[in-house]
């Protein structure tokens, strides 16, 4: 039976956390937007990052690396594990009740918060997940605390009802390993709700059940995904300002009655503090990214949480998943991005483990294949190996990946030789592929060749690192020949920008990677700029790009084009793209892969792993870029970021380093490094022009760059403010 309570996300205005008085703004926004309530809803706790929800449904993932499912929080006041949901109704709300979006905490910790607000009272929810050894190493328990507060002038009664159901209303994903049950035998066993003989939820000690509630001796039967007979009520008479809380527990997998204690015995404070401690530790292990823009900082942390939560274990190694819900599977195209993001973020061991998992996709002929027909997988796997081995550089890791990389290189070379021998129209390139995804066409895909070429170059880099000169020469030879063939083929298409396939058909997908990260074309190539213009024009004014129809926006397809713009010296485009992306993110800064302009994402639930990975990579490159032989700093940093930006413990191809940007006086900018392993170029931000280098060894180049030799630890220069560059 569907819920009769209206779940209306509170449409808070666009809001960033730049202002320290954010909480107050949120309060005002909530007060202004709640309908049907005579009093403003309660404020979320001070540690909550109350961001606006940009999708039509507010959904967040509460996961844990190694778990085989994730909890879904939202849309509305509901939590779910894919086969069981607990849904709350504020019975004491007389007319209507507004439910806020789901929020995480201000330090990025994925402890979920939301609020149900009605006239005179509200209930704040806090939900945290943590593992319990008794439940196994792939399971978790979710603890939810509902805290009611009476804000009316006179005392009143709060009545909160919790109902157990199979799946929530609205978008949800049933996990692969969930049973297909549609009929349930229900009973209460003390505080535990039992469905089909297993404990699915536990309610608060103070919760009351109806007199005719089913028991073990007198169970009831229900069918369908809606609520059945497992209903419990928590009520309290509260005086003005008084608070009262109730706790609920939801295991990730239903548990046998014998394990009731393992679920029931979890105090909310313990679960929440364990979850906070665990996630803070993970985030502390990563590179420290801080800018004056707190929304951007939070995006970095939220993306890392998504990447770490989207990891399972197999044969003792981490496995990178597409996302915590519907994409609990491995794609080389997504896994490779995850490896890169984790590597640049300093989560080195997880990145290397993920790369080792990608190596398992190699067939005996050398090809790497995760999904049939996706021939870009070989190049992506080889590229991922090089990322894992070079961020930071490790000859041992390079040697570890070298045998698989050599087989991959030879597969590419055999494919190219075969297309030459067969005198195919695409001689010297890969044959046609049918990826059943992305380009959605069976054709010779430009992206396949771009990735394969990047893969060959990656093998050369790995061989160089590992000291294998023979393989390096072989890989360099293949890369040079392949690169020339590629450019000839691209010229022969006579396409105004870059087509998705050599035949010209297909959706834009692999053609966006030619500038970054494959570096097949120089970032400043006009064809890349033209492609970006074409794709952004279709998606205007979102700032993103479309995938397929012009009403469908994509959250990571355009990021590679933004990276090309960054490397080409057009940071304003990058910042506009980033602003567009954050303006189309969830209230927990997750991104749906594809969504309708109106905000619907169907069953393609956020957060998407590749969107998270590309955000991490983009933000890192905006501060530190090691794409070439020079360490390029502040490439995408606007003048405001020079008020205090730092990226600490950041792995680069030159080693791990820390960078700080600041503005000691109005006319001076300064870069400080904790090591300086390469020649340095610093980009002068838009709106300013360098007039003098103040540090020894540094020099101004064209007013837009400062160059300094290797070993320079501090670069200070004087600027003159000017109009923004076109």
């Amino acid at each position: 039976m569907p819920s009769i309570q209206r779940h209306e996300p509170i449409p808070t205005s666009r809001l960033s956390l730049r202002d320290p008085a954010t909480t107050l703004i949120v309060a005002l926004a909530l007060a202004a937007s709640s309908s049907g309530c005579s009093a403003p809803p309660a404020l979320p706790g001070a540690g909550v990052a109350a961001l606006p929800e940009h999708y039509s449904h507010s959904i967040a993932a509460l996961g844990w690396p190694g778990a085989k499912r994730a909890f879904q929080a939202g849309h509305g006041s509901v939590v779910a594990n894919g086969e069981t949901a607990i849904e709350w109704r504020l019975v004491s709300a007389v007319d209507s009740c507004a439910v806020s979006p789901v929020w995480f905490e201000r330090d990025g910790v994925p402890v979920a918060h939301w609020t149900m607000a009605a006239a005179g009272h509200s209930v704040e929810f806090e939900a945290a997940a943590a593992p319990r050894s008794a439940l196994g190493d792939t399971s978790l328990v979710l603890s939810v605390r509902a805290t009611a507060e009476w804000r009316g002038a006179a005392a009143g009664e709060v009545v909160l009802e919790a109902r157990v159901r199979a799946t929530p209303d609205g978008p949800t994903i049933v996990p692969w390993d969930a049973p297909d049950d549609t009929a349930f035998v229900e009973a209460w066993r003390g505080r535990a709700a039992v469905r089909n003989g297993r404990i699915v939820a536990v309610v608060d000690r103070a919760a009351t059940r109806p007199q005719d509630a089913p028991t073990a001796g007198r169970p009831s039967r229900t069918t369908g995904t809606g609520a059945g007979t497992l209903v419990a009520r928590c009520s309290a008479r509260l005086s003005p300002g008084q608070r009262r809380h109730w706790d609920f527990l939801l295991p990730l997998y239903p548990v046998a009655p014998a394990l009731r204690g393992a679920v029931e015995g979890n105090a909310h404070e313990r679960v929440a503090s364990e979850s906070r401690r665990f996630w803070r530790n993970w985030l502390a292990r990563a590179a420290d990214f801080e800018t004056p823009d707190t929304l951007t900082n939070l995006a970095w942390r939220a993306s890392l949480v998504t990447l770490v939560a989207s990891q399972e274990r197999d044969r003792g190694r981490w496995v990178p998943l597409g996302n915590p819900f519907q994409y609990r599977d491995i794609w080389l195209r997504d896994g490779a991005r995850t490896v890169r993001a984790l590597a640049v973020a300093g989560l080195t061991e997880m990145a290397r483990d993920d790369a080792r998992t990608l190596a398992r996709f190699q067939l005996s002929n050398g090809v790497f294949l995760s999904q049939r027909g996706q021939l870009d997988g070989t190049g992506q796997a080889l590229w991922a190996f090089a990322q894992a081995a070079s961020l930071p550089p490790s000859a041992a890791i390079a040697r570890e990946f070298l045998p698989a990389a050599a087989r991959g290189l030879r597969w590419v070379q055999r494919q190219r030789s075969a297309t030459i021998d067969m005198r195919l129209p695409t001689a010297g390139l890969l044959p046609y592929g049918d990826p059943r995804d992305a380009e959605l066409v069976r054709a010779s895909l430009v992206g396949n060749d771009a990735w394969a070429l990047a893969g060959c170059r990656a093998v050369a880099a790995l061989a160089r690192q590992a000291g294998d000169d023979t393989l390096r020469r072989e890989a360099d030879g293949v890369s040079a020949e392949y690169g020339a063939t590629f450019l000839q083929a691209l010229a022969a298409t006579r396409h105004p920008d870059i087509p998705p396939s050599w035949q010209g058909v297909g959706r834009d997908w692999g053609n966006v990677v030619l500038g970054y990260p494959t570096f097949v074309l120089p970032a400043g190539d006009p064809r890349l700029a033209a492609l970006a213009r074409r794709m952004h024009a279709r998606a205007a004014p979102s700032g993103l790009v479309c995938y397929g129809p012009s009403d469908s926006l994509h959250t990571y397809l355009g990021t590679d084009l933004a990276q090309s713009s960054l490397l080409a010296g057009r940071p304003a485009e990058v910042r506009a793209y980033l602003a567009g992306l954050l303006a189309h993110s969830s209230s927990t800064l997750g991104q749906a892969e594809i969504f309708h302009r109106a905000g619907g994402f169907g069953l393609n639930l956020p957060p998407h792993g590749t969107a998270a990975a590309t955000i991490v990579d983009l933000l890192r490159n905006m501060i530190v870029s090691d794409a070439g032989d020079t360490l390029v700093l502040a490439l995408g940093a606007p003048l405001e970021w020079w008020r205090g930006t730092r990226l600490e413990r950041a792995p680069t191809r030159f080693g791990v380093l820390g960078v700080r940007l600041d503005r000691p006086t109005a006319d001076r900018l300064r870069v400080r490094l904790d090591s300086s392993p390469a020649f340095i170029r610093v980009r002068v931000p838009d709106g300013a022009r360098a007039v003098a280098a103040l540090s020894p060894g540094a020099r101004v180049v064209d007013g837009g760059w400062i160059e300094a030799p290797r070993g320079t630890r501090e670069i200070e220069f004087r600027i003159a403010l000017q109009q923004a560059r076109p």
Binding site: V319, G373, L375, T419, L424, G433, P435, V441, G506
Partner: protein, 225 residues
């Protein structure tokens, strides 16, 4: 090495030993005998216990089930194959290959069924693959290709060899490897002239390589996502 130490090493009694023996009190000798008896007793006990343990352990280890007659396994394998019940077919194919590991036909069968299983979608309940992740799928495919190659290597019949090659071609074709698949098909046709299970595939792929039969975007469902 001194003579005394050399004698000690060889176990020969030297003067020092004799002296010690002569000086040693008799009760010590009785204690020593008692020790030896105790050690012997414990050794017997340990050996006995180990023997008992081995006996019990042998009894508790389940004996392998008596082998089915291959014909009976074959019947089940055939039925499940025809029903395209790949989960059960894989079970029977494994038994068949285990019953006669050197029979190339059964090895080929196991390879083909492994491939089919990796592609299977559950027929009951909601739509989902029988395998949870692409790692499982690709490992099944990898095993399928290895088994098919092994079968081809063992077989002595041209017909069976061409069949194995043809199946190898189909696995590669299904994996979306348009240059690997024809190698198998062409090999089959070279051994058995115009082998009917391989020739049409070889011709289709050859044409596709020169002019891929593109499908307009939007007409294909997101099958794998």
């Amino acid at each position: 090495m001194s003579r005394q130490r050399e004698r000690e090493r060889r176990g020969e009694p030297g003067r020092q030993h004799e002296k010690r023996r002569a000086n040693a009190p008799r009760p010590v000798l009785r204690k020593s005998r008692l020790h030896r008896r105790l050690i012997l007793f414990f050794a017997v006990m340990v050996v006995g216990a180990l023997g008992m343990w081995a006996l019990v352990h042998q009894q508790t280890v389940p004996h392998p089930p008596p082998p089915f007659p291959t014909a009976a396994i074959f019947d089940s394998a055939l039925v499940t194959f025809r029903e395209q019940n790949w989960k059960d077919a894989l079970h029977w194919a494994r038994l068949l290959a285990a019953a006669e590991p050197s029979n190339p036909a059964w090895v080929l069968h196991l390879g083909v069924v492994s491939h089919n299983y990796s592609f299977t979608w559950l027929k009951v309940g909601r739509v989902r693959s029988v395998t949870r992740t692409s790692l499982e799928r690709i490992e099944l495919e990898s095993r399928a290709l290895a088994l098919i190659d092994s079968s081809a290597a063992w077989t002595r019949s041209n017909e069976q060899w061409a069949n194995a090659m043809s199946q190898g071609g189909q696995v590669n074709e299904a994996l979306g490897l348009p240059l690997e698949a024809p190698q198998y098909y062409v090999a089959a046709c070279e051994r058995v002239r115009d082998y009917p299970a391989a020739l049409p595939h070889a011709v289709f792929i050859a044409k596709s390589l020169h002019d891929p039969p593109t499908i307009p975007p939007g007409t294909v469902l997101l099958r794998d996502r």
